[in-house]
Amino acid sequence: MSAAQHQALVLGGASFVAFVFFLCFLLPSRRTEFSVFAACNLLFVALMFGAVAFVDLSGGRTEILVAVMTELPVVLIVAWVCLALAGGLPARLGTLPAEPVARRPGLRAILASAPLVLLLSVVLATIVGLVWPSPAMRVYAPAPPHFLVLKALIMVPEGLYSGVAALVFVMAGRAPGLKRRIYFKNLAFAVGMACISFIAAGSTVFAGLRVWLPGGDRRAILETLNTLEACLAITCILAFTVGLSLRYTPAIATTLLHRLQTGWLHAQEQFESLEWQAVSGGATDKLTHASDAVVEACRIKGLSESDTQKALATIRLVAVMKDPSGETQHITPEAARKLYELQEEILCDDVLASKISWAAGWRSRGREPQTVKSAPLHDALEAALDLVGYHGESGGARARPLWYCIVAVSAADAKMIDRSRVTMQLRDGAGHREALEAYGAARRSLRMLDALRRRMEGRQE
């Protein structure tokens, strides 16, 4: 067996082992389009090197075709990787570019050009090889200068593109706050692509040595280069295998996120904006008076801002649900119940519930952001559904917070809900009595304020 056949056997064996590993372990657990493509390439490479090792393919143009065919899988892998990094793959295979590439249009254009440039260079190299045949498969034999042209045509662009891809993987891996697994994955791919780049550079040097180095020294240097190339090829295969084996599953699934966007967020925004439009666009006097009284009663009882906001949101909801206008016809007890259930679904997931938050106001970084749980709407929905008698368990044995009692008293006084229902729900407890007192005091002070304002207006006239 010649040295060239021995090297082909080593590379073919390594490729075949990697193919078996892909087939038995990687593809069943982590099948991506790229891993399937890589497995097919490995099989092709193994077959090609096997053919070179066991069948004498030397001589003339056959030798050129075999040499080009053994390079083709690597060229295809480099083209795929570059296109994937540029986000240029067909939609079915994922169109997102790597994060460092998205920010650099020049880099993106370079990577996106890889398939075209590489395939063109392979075609050109094949033409050169077929027109001027050279001993491409006899690795230690002296070669004519056009052999270097043939090699360089393929290896220079391949080396450059794989070098750029390795750099992009390093940049992606260095992103701050990246999960460790993704970091190692990018590192593995960077090593793999760097190996391809070094192999390409080594092959070009190798071809140059075959052309220009005299016979005595050539053999020893070429043997060393050959061993180095085989080591790099095995490292490359191992690095890609490690990279493809590393799997990271995000804590929040894309499908769940989509459901939240189209379900919960859409419903909550519509609910709150329609309610705001109804209130701001000149809601009924009944609501204006009731909400003023509720806020005043909460102030009298010294309730927190959060409880006051809940009370205000509840009285508005009750008013809109009981007296829907053209715009607020969508704010029905059924819709409120649905939104409440969506919120409960989010609250069941601790990770999600803690992450989804929004600012309490514009440029309010100092203030605590609102969450589904802390926003007034969640408790307000439950309370409003209870008050309009749409909640599943409205049989009022539960202890109610004072803000709820104030809203109930106010809503009953404004004839939004039935007074007897409130009495039954609150069962004349201490909270109910306190709410009645506070509400009465609030009404009196609002009446006094109103009278004062009218008197002032009269004087001005």
Binding site: A84, A102, G173, I182, F189, Q261, L265, G361, W362
Partner: protein
């Protein structure tokens, strides 16, 4: 949204021709190759690409950060005015009666955009309204050149309109249909809200570091 176009007093034909050559170069930095013809609505993945261009992908961010990054990218000054109801009580009433929640004004001459929102909006709606208006800026909706020709949607893709000068972040041209532009601005707002909340837990952000 309202646009104040500048008064042009320069020799028109020459400059408009030059602008035609300059346009593709100016838009080189935007998200991937331009989609000039009909296109489908923005996806969360495509939005992630826009965030990457702004340097916000995989990070937790507030609407203010998005606004600052967008303003820097578009090279315009963006200001948000949250108007307290006590200042202009009529603003809320008028907006509410017109079915709108905020107003975006854009002046090409002054190179600035101003967003007006009433202070009485609930916090979530306020955040989404500001992000919605920023979404119009990102999409380049204010740069459209009205087209008299009737345009038809092809399958799930919708007709778009060409643009006059000015930068935009989006890959595709704005939709010809106003309701679609509004819908896409809503989508951008919801994507931005979730991306800002989730940071590196956003599954779309992770896709950009795991392309193979």
């Amino acid at each position: 949204m309202k646009v104040d176009p500048p008064k042009r007093d320069l020799p028109g034909p020459f400059f408009s021709k030059m602008a035609g050559f300059w346009r593709p170069l100016r838009n080189l930095g935007a998200a991937q190759a331009r989609v000039d013809g009909p296109r489908s609505l923005l996806t969360a993945a495509e939005f992630q690409e826009e965030l990457a261009i702004l340097g916000l992908s995989g990070q937790r961010f507030e609407p203010e950060d998005y606004m600052d990054a967008l303003g820097e990218y578009l090279d315009i000054s963006i200001v948000v005015h949250v108007i307290p109801d006590s200042w202009y009580p009529e603003l809320s009433r008028q907006l509410a009666n017109s079915g709108r929640l905020g107003e975006l004004r854009y002046s090409e001459q002054m190179n600035m955009a101003a967003i007006f929102v009433p202070g009485s909006l609930p916090p979530l709606v306020l955040t989404l309204t500001i992000l919605h208006e920023l979404g119009h800026l990102a999409a380049g909706d204010l740069l459209i050149e009205p087209d008299e020709d009737e345009q038809h949607a092809e399958g799930a893709k919708f007709a778009t309109l060409p643009l006059k000068k000015g930068r935009r972040l989006a890959r595709g041209y704005p939709f010809a249909d106003e309701s679609l532009r509004e819908h896409e601005a809503n989508l951008r707002a919801s994507y931005a809200l979730f991306a800002g909340c989730l940071g590196d837990d956003n599954p779309h952000a992770y896709e950009m570091y795991d392309v193979l």
